[in-house]
Point group: C2
């Protein structure tokens, strides 16, 4: 067990014979079984984005897209970003908040809104995905205990997923990533791609199954003026993807495939009765058997009543802790003295049992991301 | 006061000096202040559809669309539907359930999924809307105490709303309707129309304001294979429309305009914290001032936890009782002995105070639909 490294990050706990003790107040003492300490799970946030990447990264992208519009422009120069720049953008943002809130490890991916699958062509999408994933790899290299990588796929609406399969394999086998973000609408708000149950996606699912990695279903920016990216398109995609899975039988074919639907599952838990009623009416297979062995919702719901609904309606085995941090909603709730996206606060205050809370914080995520679990086990965690 | 007619429908209550007494168990006795009776509001369901129209109605539509594909076909003959057929389809379905559940009046509109704004041209859309609205008018004529009409608009994506303005005026002034259904995406799932805050829609809003009628924001069938009509498109439209309004300032211009967002507001109440966080981040005007003076959510959420969330998060002044009956979800919950869409059961069991429950069941709806209120008042209700 590499306890010293581990403890340097997990400032508020000690590991004793593989049991973890934590101060419920998040205190910084390390004196083990002192009063006020109790058993607690590792806290894994399954949904973080590198939204604070150094500006040179986006500048490369801008130059790349400008050249697609005007081929007479020079080829864009790859961004030069130092390790110190990466450290600074992480330590002062995601890692600072993670430490304050008690998150131990974040599953980290490129900025979702910048994936921009509706822009450019296959070659530019592939190059951009590689650069984004390489940047995430540098983060996970600099902070190996605090972050695990999830890759952006070079999707282009209407194009086959061949390059996605290659980039997924490279990200997992060469960069050590533990999952992917899969965009169900690479058109950016016009929904021109077939449902996730369509064979169009199957080569990607086959590779995911082979590699043992899940995908988070996550769209990028909406280029449709009707659908606000953060306030409509993201949530609609979650809802849409879930219903595609409910009305299909994808997991009969890909039994080991696992999807995480972010943002608390979009509208789904709030309308849980509607989905069950539709299943009855349409004679679909029961959701529990047909979908919920393979599909998980994260906890990116930014108020207590929402988390209470999620945790009371959805089986705790299907909920993964996440904050989307730094994501759609930043800054403090003016009615309280805490950040909207401090979802740990809501999960802690929910009516989950300690056993179920451990599933949400740690155990489910280790089950859904087996490559992360293997790495943690290898490190004695 | 036309008490006899009124009592013939409201079987479980009596009207005494304009106070209403109701059995909490929904008993059928009419002996007034007997034990077990208590004061209760009128129950108005603001969201019902004529999903059980006689088949000849849809056959006309099918013939109309077939002729658009093949102009050599004969002009479709208007459906011949007898009063008895209408009575039978209403009394054995919507009215039967309304009586069983204790609903007094339903705000009733043509089948939403059959509006089909993505099919045909302006002329066919206009004719179809007129026939649908005329059929609703026959229902309200046969059952004047049980139904109030809401019209379908002859929307066509990309076409101006001129015909919609005309049909709205006809429906309100000639047919006595009290509102309209407004489709924010007449393309049927590709979202090609501008946001509801765009001036494209303003002629319709001007007419709505002039007539004093609200609109329910309600899409029709999805022709997009990615988006299931009932399990994704409907909810996405609710979410999308709300965010359009949050990010705009439509009600600064149209201060009296009122929208009802159905299906419990889509994903919105579940993500109430997200919306408030987005407003803070994007420096939009506060939702309470900018939107919630003019926007209302219905109670078409088909399980108790969903209604509990809705009624705890959204101001009771902004919630209107509705069942969508007979709508997306029919049949009984196999885990209980009641219909999924018996939303009165959930509203009754929610933590709303009696005063707030009266708002949800009656008072808010009379405020949002002033033409209905005027009619009820004229009838002494």
């Amino acid at each position: 067990m590499t306890i010293p490294v581990w403890l340097s990050f997990r400032t508020s706990l000690v590991v004793v014979e593989s049991l973890t003790f934590r101060s419920p107040e998040g205190g910084t003492g390390r004196d083990g079984r002192a009063a006020g300490w109790e058993y607690g799970p590792m806290i894994i946030d399954c949904h973080g984005h590198y939204t604070t990447a150094p500006p040179a990264h986006q500048q490369f992208r801008d130059a790349q897209l400008a050249r697609l519009d005007d081929p007479s422009r020079p080829a864009p120069v790859p961004a030069r970003i130092s390790d110190d720049e990466i450290r600074e953008t992480i330590e002062n943002n995601q890692l600072k908040l993670a430490r304050e809130r008690g998150t131990d490890l974040t599953i980290f991916s490129p900025r979702a809104s910048s994936m921009g699958h509706h822009l450019g062509d296959q070659a530019s999408a592939t190059e951009w995905a590689r650069r984004c994933n390489d940047l995430i790899h540098r983060v996970t290299g600099l902070f190996p205990d605090a972050f695990a990588g999830v890759c952006q796929l070079p999707q282009v609406a209407g194009e086959p997923v061949d390059d996605c399969v290659k980039e997924l394999e490279r990200s997992v086998t060469e960069l050590g990533f533990v999952g992917a973000n899969l965009n169900p609408d690479p058109s950016g708000g016009h929904w021109t791609s077939p449902p996730l149950t369509d064979e169009y996606w199957f080569p990607l699912y086959a590779k995911m199954s082979e590699l043992g990695v899940p995908a988070m279903i996550h769209v990028s920016t909406s280029c449709n003026p009707a659908a606000h990216t953060l306030g409509a398109h993201y949530l609609n995609a979650d809802t849409t993807a879930f219903m595609q899975l409910v009305s299909g039988d994808l997991f009969t074919r890909f039994g080991d495939l696992k999807f995480v639907i972010p943002h608390g599952g979009g509208a789904v838990p709030y309308h849980w009765g509607r989905y069950h009623g539709l299943v009855t009416r349409e004679k679909y297979r029961p959701i529990a058997d047909n979908v919920m062995r393979n599909v998980f919702f994260d906890t990116c719901v930014y108020h207590q009543p929402g988390i209470d609904l999620l945790t009371s309606v959805i089986d705790p085995d299907n909920i993964l802790f996440a904050s989307e941090m730094l994501g759609a909603v930043r800054g403090n709730n003016p009615d309280g003295d805490f950040s909207w996206d401090d979802t740990k606060r809501y999960v802690d205050a929910s009516a989950l049992s300690d056993a179920d809370r451990s599933k949400v914080y740690e155990l489910n995520t280790r089950r859904v991301y087996p490559r992360l679990d293997a790495r943690l086990k290898a490190a004695g965690k």
